[in-house]
């Protein structure tokens, strides 16, 4: 026999006839702070990462308009250290480094995100399909991703990019995506294999849900965390690959990006000439962008598990209160006497408890 609790509750709220209503209405409900829609943003690491990433995205969008000089324009100020005219100095041809940096941001961001989205998409399609269908399809898709896993990526990218007639930004992005999806596919396949056998998927199948719906509505939401962190990881990889390619002089064309700056700085012996302003800003930008993406990844990690979310969100308070949440050793905090918020009610309660003692620690 099952009792529909909602019915009983409704009955009690609406009709006083059945339930023993005593005129005692439920006490004033304490207003609980709703977790809100942007819980993710309460994680300080994620916020820091998003702020830095947002800054670079903004520069990428408005870069060509706010750059003080044409990045390729040569001038007579050759190899000048930072000054009011050139905030980050000039190159051996008198080009403005700051302008190169600002204009070059777009190339880095576009390639990073296009490659990230493309590689994640291929990875999800191949990985989830392989994990879900099993059998021959799984075998062949796994074989494919295994092959891509063992191919040394950078040499392959160099060869492909070297063969293409116009190795512009998007071409490089596609090449990076095509060579970089396999790891994500492998992880997703493993997780899908485990999810496929769980009871809630069996239940969905027993309810007559279509395979398409099971994959989209039951399995994919469980993979969100892996997909998101895989995406962030791929973006990092793509940015670094692009910069590496540009640094060794492949695929730059006429576009500026941070790697091109480093390429010229290296080939013109900036280090030996002591022109630190030529390579340090670009290096810092790469490090900052990488850090931002890593911070976002940390944020995702702490956020994904609903059970650990409370811990992740309150890490600072927990540290302050000296609480270390662990499984198997529940933390104990002894309330300081008087510091407790419950006031009179709880005082009455604790004194009326049978073993109330003065020496409560």
């Amino acid at each position: 026999m099952t009792v529909d609790i909602t019915l009983i509750e409704e009955d009690q709220v609406t009709g006083p006839s059945g339930a023993p209503m005593t005129g005692v209405m439920p006490s004033v409900p304490r207003r609980r702070r709703r977790p809100g829609r942007f819980v993710f943003l309460r994680n300080s690491k994620a916020v820091a990462g998003l702020v830095i990433l947002g800054f670079f995205t903004l520069i990428a969008i408005v870069g060509p308009w706010i750059a003080p000089y044409d990045p390729s324009a040569q001038s007579d100020d050759i190899l000048q250290p930072p000054s009011w005219e050139h905030w980050m100095g000039t190159t051996h041809l008198g080009q403005d480094v700051l302008s190169q940096l600002i204009v070059g941001t777009r190339g880095v961001m576009v390639v990073g995100f296009v490659a990230g989205i493309l590689a994640t998409f291929i990875g999800v399609v191949v990985g989830v399909t392989a994990g879900f269908i099993g059998g021959v399809g799984d075998e062949s898709l796994s074989a494919l991703s295994n092959i891509f896993l063992v191919i040394p990526q950078l040499p392959l990218i160099i060869i492909i990019a070297g063969q293409l007639p116009s190795a512009g930004g998007l071409t490089v992005a596609v090449v990076i995506a095509v060579t970089g999806w396999a790891w994500g596919a492998r992880v997703l396949r493993a997780q899908t294999l485990s999810l496929r056998k769980r009871d809630f998927v069996e239940a969905a199948r027993a309810n007559g849900e279509r395979t398409w719906r099971i994959v989209m509505a039951e399995i994919l939401p469980n993979l969100t965390a892996i997909i998101a962190s895989g995406f962030v990881g791929t973006v990092t990889f793509a940015v670094l690959s692009l910069i590496t390619l540009a640094f060794i002089g492949i695929g730059s064309g006429g576009d500026w990006n941070w790697g091109t700056i480093l390429f010229w700085a290296q080939s013109q012996l900036a280090l030996q000439r002591g022109a630190w302003w030529w390579f340090i800003p670009a290096g810092l930008c790469i490090a900052l962008l990488g850090m931002a993406l890593t911070l976002i990844n940390f944020g995702i990690d702490e956020f994904v598990n609903p059970r650990l979310r409370s811990t992740g969100l309150h890490a600072r308070t927990l540290r302050k209160r000296g609480i270390r949440p662990r499984i198997g050793f529940t933390p104990v905090v002894h309330r300081a006497p008087g510091a407790e918020a419950g006031t009179a009610a709880s005082v009455a309660r604790s004194t009326s408890a049978p073993f109330a003692k003065e020496d409560r620690a």
Binding site: R30, H314, A353, F355, K357
Partner: protein, 366 residues
């Protein structure tokens, strides 16, 4: 300000003789934020040596939380915010489990205080033979014992719970659910613990197997002399096995009395309602009433008695005064029992400026 001294009775409740586990004013929160849910509020409970104590109540009223908090097994975001859990060893030394460090806690677990979990039959590792799993536990706590001796002890333990010793070399999937449950009980008894906490150990089993296991526990208790905390929502099962029953509601103990007293003479409206929710095994037929409504949301609990909205005997004081555990206001009652109901606590009602109400007939059966 003491609200506990009811006019007609002695000042304190009579403590349990020779306690092995004393839980004092234990408070537990869920959530680490500024606004946690107080799931246990100043719960006190004493387990006597060799006693079987039943913990009963609806789902979500804090039974398992109490047991896991007392053993510090609550997973995050559980947080113990106060109280003591005193364990008294056979030689009379007393330790507060909440103050042990990790090493001490690890050593004390299983040795002093063993637990059989909810759905225990899935607690066995499917890839090891059960004999090895029992022996592993023994050798973890007693490194000086050889594997051979540990296996012999495992065989003894299996015999103790009614499984033939040649099952030592079986894998978990080769045993039935009831047998696996009994293996878990054998495992819990391996180090001769003084307290055995059983969290709904029979929930997934059929009634015949439930009966066998309950009888087995009672029999083992008589032979080995350990104490049992038996958690279940099956009150009829408790009345058979338990010496004493504590009824929990909304994170508090509302009544604590010998099993037969609870059965024949419930003093709290909730205990009474709980007993009227299942058919009696013997005796005349009576109408089943059930309990209207559902337990309150612990996150939004105000002052006053948490049961008042579902209680047929609630009166004006119930909305503001928190009932504490007192001796029931019924002449001739066992002084060892306690109830948290304002109908029995005229002094507290009067102190808060309300007119006390008499104990209704239903709650003062003889």
């Amino acid at each position: 300000m003491t609200l506990t001294t009811p006019a007609g009775h002695g000042s304190a409740l009579v403590p349990v003789k020779d306690p092995v586990l004393e839980i004092r004013n234990l408070s537990v929160d869920y959530g680490y934020d500024a606004d946690p849910v107080h799931v246990l509020r100043d719960v006190s409970l004493t387990l006597g040596r060799g006693e079987v104590l039943g913990l009963a109540g609806e789902s979500g009223c804090g039974k398992s939380t109490l047991a896991y908090a007392a053993t510090r097994l609550l997973p995050p975001p559980g947080l113990i915010t106060g109280g003591e859990v005193l364990f008294t060893d056979r030689d009379g030394t007393t330790t507060d489990i909440l103050r042990l460090n990790d090493t001490q806690l690890r050593a004390s677990r299983w040795q002093d205080l063993a637990i059989v979990f909810q759905g225990a039959m899935n607690s066995l590792n499917p890839v090891f033979r059960i004999g090895r799993q029992i022996a592993d536990g023994i050798r973890a706590h007693r490194p000086e014992v050889s594997q051979q001796e540990a296996l012999e002890r495992s065989a003894e333990l299996l015999e103790l719970v009614g499984i033939s010793p040649d099952r030592l070399r079986s894998y978990p999937h080769q045993l039935s659910g009831g047998m696996r449950q009994r293996v878990m009980i054998a495992m819990a008894l391996a180090l001769d613990p003084q307290v055995l906490i059983m969290d709904e150990p029979t929930t997934a089993l059929d009634v015949v197997m439930q009966r066998q296991i309950v009888e087995q526990i009672a029999d083992l208790r008589d032979r080995l002399g350990f104490s049992v905390v038996f958690i279940t929502h099956d009150v009829s099962l408790l009345i058979e096995i338990a010496d004493r029953i504590a009824i929990m509601y909304a994170g508090e103990i509302v009544e604590d009395a010998p099993a037969l007293d609870i059965y024949h003479r419930p003093r709290h409206p909730y205990s009474s309602a709980l007993l009227h929710s299942f058919p009696p095994l013997r005796g005349p037929r009576r109408e089943l009433s059930g309990i209207p409504g559902s337990p309150p949301d612990l996150a939004r609990l105000g002052a006053g008695c948490p049961f008042r909205d579902r209680c047929a005997f609630a009166f004006d004081a119930c909305a503001t005064v928190d009932p504490g555990l007192t001796i029931p206001d019924v002449a001739g009652d066992d002084p060892r029992r306690a109830v948290a109901c304002l109908r029995h606590d005229a002094a507290a009602v009067r102190a808060a400026g309300f007119e006390p109400q008499p104990v209704p007939v239903e709650l003062s059966l003889r």
